[in-house]
């Protein structure tokens, strides 16, 4: 049984307050992207708490930054792809070749990116010890879940 550190209570409380305040604001309702940003910030906080070695801590934080930027870049790319495809589909006269060219360009992009996407995540796991990983795992999982939801909301 993993002991729940008191610092986690503070992080959880701050997160809940932030979400409740934003939810009450109405027009400033929390978006999936906001939730994702908070989840990544919580992950950084937990890494600072858990990783004792300063150089490994700095590297782990840097890798979280890389991972978050990768996700942001890919989210923008997916949004652009979706928008373009809906444009092509809306036009009754779009030739099949235009769809095929567009899908081929996406496939090419996907094949190029597939390795890069997992690298930062794998490196983050590699820079932490197994004990540290078990302690930050909950926050890492939350960050990935939040990223999945923000991407699904496009």
């Amino acid at each position: 049984m993993v002991k729940w550190p008191s610092s986690w209570n503070l992080v959880l409380l701050c997160t809940m307050i932030a979400i409740m305040v934003a939810a009450c604001a109405g027009k400033d309702a929390v978006t999936p992207v906001d939730v994702e940003a908070q989840a990544f910030e919580d992950l950084r906080s937990e890494i600072r708490n858990v990783v004792a070695d300063s150089s490994r801590e700095a590297e782990a934080i840097r890798l979280v930054d890389v991972l978050q930027k990768d996700i942001e870049r890919l989210r923008n790319s997916i949004a652009a792809r979706t928008s373009r495809l809906r444009e092509l589909n809306a036009d009754y006269d779009t030739p099949r070749a235009d769809f095929e060219d567009f899908l081929a360009s996406i496939e090419s992009e996907v094949r190029e990116n597939r390795q890069h996407v997992t690298e930062a995540h794998q490196a983050l796991l590699a820079v932490t010890t197994s004990e540290e990983r078990s302690q930050i795992d909950k926050y890492r999982t939350k960050a990935i879940n939040a990223a999945i939801k923000s991407i699904q909301s496009i």
């Binding site: 996700i71 890919l74 989210r75 997916i78 792809r81 979706t82 495809l85 809906r86 444009e87 589909n89 809306a90 009754y92 099949r96 769809f99 095929e100 899908l103 996406i106 496939e107 996907v110 094949r111 990116n113 597939r114 996407v117 997992t118 995540h121 999982t141 990935i144 879940n145 990223a147 999945i148 991407i151 699904q152 909301s153 496009i154």
Partner: protein, 119 residues
């Protein structure tokens, strides 16, 4: 499971397993726009076929996520899994595109505009 699913989701294009999935979810719009006749029955049949194809693809995607997760945790070669995944994507895109053009031929230009023009 989470990392593999995450990887596939962000690579494949977002909410669905394929980026043409949204066309399959226009059944209600088609029912509103088209008269109750044989053409509408055919169009709805095409949309049903699209949904079934999307469902098959989603199941295959889940299996790929499991296979990738297992390979990542054991250090096994994942290239074989990715190769199969891309072949599956190619086939899916081709078949969904076939169904998209089948649907296009079943709707008039005006009906198409009403269903998809607001995209």
């Amino acid at each position: 499971m989470l990392v593999a699913l995450f990887t596939i989701l962000i690579l494949s294009g977002g909410g669905g397993s394929g980026i043409l999935d949204f066309i399959a979810n226009t059944e209600n719009d088609v029912k509103v726009v088209m008269e109750k006749d044989d053409r509408r029955i055919e169009a709805l049949g095409t949309l049903k076929a699209m949904k079934q194809r999307v469902s098959v693809n989603n199941k295959a995607l889940k299996q790929t996520s499991k296979d990738l997760d297992k390979a990542l945790s054991t250090g096994a070669d994942i290239d074989v899994i990715w190769k199969a995944y891309f072949a599956q994507r190619d086939a899916y895109n081709r078949e969904i595109l076939d169904l998209r053009f089948q649907l296009r031929d079943q709707l008039t230009r005006d009906e198409w505009q009403q269903v998809f023009g607001g995209e």
